[in-house]
């Protein structure tokens, strides 16, 4: 999943980014509310992590502006404040979830995954496409009883295709969802991952079809 993190504390931002990247997500980081509003419109983020205390405009305002624009991206608020009012206010402004600092890293990861699933419109943790099953909580993918040995990126690509099984996923959208904007994307970056995935899914798994000039599609089986 591609995640946008808005956090002004550099050390915490580094930590959260490392944590989420290790979980196979592509993470973009901005430190101010203004940057966040500029960036979020152009990219297909699956989840936004938003700190309430920002140096320029606070998290509540960022959230309110996002929702005013009609942006439906799932937002997880992070705050150092205890007050119930704050939590209620955040949720009422259109936040999807709320986490108080200091948080448990496992909880942050789980909440981000849950928000990502909801974004796809399917909250089930296990995704099934024909003989392929993907556990979106543990990241484990199987074809029948055979566990696939997937690299981080491959898992992200497979998940992006599997949530839209039977539909064509444009190449640009796939790149947007898989790579953060500070990651170098080679001309055939996606092709490399797709080719490897095909090898790992064969022979009994669903097939990934190339729609020339457009993108890819995972057979619904």
């Amino acid at each position: 999943m591609r995640i946008l993190m808005i956090e002004d504390d550099a050390a915490l931002a580094r930590g959260i980014a490392a944590l989420l990247r290790a979980g196979g997500h592509a993470v973009d980081h901005v430190a101010t509310g203004r940057d966040a509003l500029a960036v979020v419109a152009g990219e297909p983020y699956a989840v936004v992590i938003l700190d309430v205390g920002l140096p320029d405009i606070d998290g509540f305002t960022v959230l309110a502006r996002l929702r005013e624009r009609g942006d439906r991206v799932p937002v997880l608020m992070l705050t150092a404040r205890d007050a119930l009012d704050d939590r209620v206010r955040g949720l009422d402004l259109g936040a999807d979830d709320y986490l108080r600092k200091p948080f448990e890293p496992e909880e942050l990861e789980a909440r981000v995954r849950a928000l990502g699933r909801r974004r796809g419109g399917d909250p089930l943790p296990v995704l099934g496409v024909g003989t392929l099953t993907i556990n979106r909580s543990s990241g484990e993918a199987k074809v029948g009883d055979r566990t696939l040995d997937l690299r981080r990126r491959e898992r992200t690509v497979l998940e992006a295709l599997a949530t839209r099984a039977g539909r064509v996923v444009p190449r640009e959208l796939l790149i947007g969802e898989v790579f953060g904007f500070d990651e170098p994307v080679g001309g055939n970056a996606i092709e490399v991952h797709v080719t490897r995935l095909r090898g790992k899914l064969a022979p009994d798994g669903p097939e990934i079809r190339t729609v020339r000039g457009v993108g890819y599609m995972l057979d619904a089986g």
């Binding site: 002004d8 504390d9 550099a10 050390a11 915490l12 580094r14 930590g15 959260i16 490392a18 944590l19 290790a22 430190a31 101010t32 140096p55 150092a80 404040r81 205890d82 108080r100 600092k101 200091p102 948080f103 448990e104 890293p105 496992e106 942050l108």
Partner: protein, 460 residues
Amino acid sequence: MPGDTRTPALRTRLLVAMVGPLLLAAVVIGLVGATLIADVVRRTSDRVLGGALGAIAETVQVERGEVTLDLPAAAFGMLENGERDNVYYRIAVGGELLTGYADLSAPDPATLAVDVPRYRFARYRDQDIRIAEVRRALPRIDRPVVIQIAETLDNRRALNRRLMIALLIGECVLVGAAALLLRPALGWSLRPLARLRGAVEARDERARPDFSPLEAGPLPSELRPLAQAFDRLLAQLDSATGGVRRFTADASHQMRTPLSVLKVQVALARRGSGGERAEALDEIAEAVTRLERLVTQLLALARAEEAGVSAPLEAVDLREVAGAVITRLFAQAMEAGVELTLEGDERPVVPGHRTLIFEILSNLIDNGIRYNRRGGTVSVRLAVVDTATLMIVADDGPGIPAGHRDAAFERFVRLGAAGSPEGSGLGLAIVRSAAARLNATVELEDAERGTVVVVRFPSA
């Protein structure tokens, strides 16, 4: 004082203060009343006795050169009463008994005015008696005619006793009623006090301390100052605890971010291996340093806010303190590539507390090092001008824009965009608190570059 047995209860006080004087008044009224009653009884009884005397005296006539009289029954009827007093009389002409009781005490006729009755007490037959006597001058009789009538005193005494008893009963009822009514009256008077107490006690029961003014309803004018004093005390407590509350809230708020960093990095260190783990450990070390500094500064702030309240001022050699601070921060400055200098050769001494001045300088120089460029300097200058002693700390950093200078002194306010050095936002707040304790002022001044902080100690 609670439990002080030497201070009597309010009820006892009022009882003593009211019933005591009331008793005294009763005694005085009793004494005056007794005198008045005795007087009134004597006068009224004398009037009756005088009436009888007059009735007899009128019947005394001269008939053929002889004094005669006709004792009227009505005269004795007047003197009849429930006590069956004895009545005696004596009529004498020139000391010779005409009729009556011969041994009744006879007056010297020369002392008696004509037709003016005189009254006196006397003893007769072992009894106290009251005698009314009058002298009459009759035509052609040259000897004085003295008419006397007397009665025993039983009726007078009985009358006197009855009136005195009535008076005493009245007084007892008055004093008793006052003493009895005191309790309910006191309860009624003290009810606003009880209400006030209720309003105070209600505060105890609330989970969160409430320092808003008491709601005891309308109070009598005597209690209003007490309630107002209490409200003022509450307001003071409110601002004091408010400060502490804000401080702890701010402090805990400020600790949550480095704590989050720690949790995340610990998780990463557990999962990762080799290089990832080393990286996480570096991050952990940095977060711990940050927390440590935050805690140190919070303590310094707490110290600055409470220190110096009672300790007497001492003479502080600013140059010595500046030297000590620079020595301590030298290594940190070297690491940051910043030069520390102490300029001028004046050696001003100000009244103050060395610890607080040390704290002020430490924070200012520390800020100067943190928000500086490599190769920059932090200079400390000491100067004495007409009205004040100045301690000026200047750096080569980015400076603080004029519009943000007030905010810079607020707790936990960190200026500058993300990516600027990690600070707690407490430094200038500590400086301001400590300076306030020393009656010194702290100002940020305009400079061509960098930040210039001027601490001004007023001349004594």
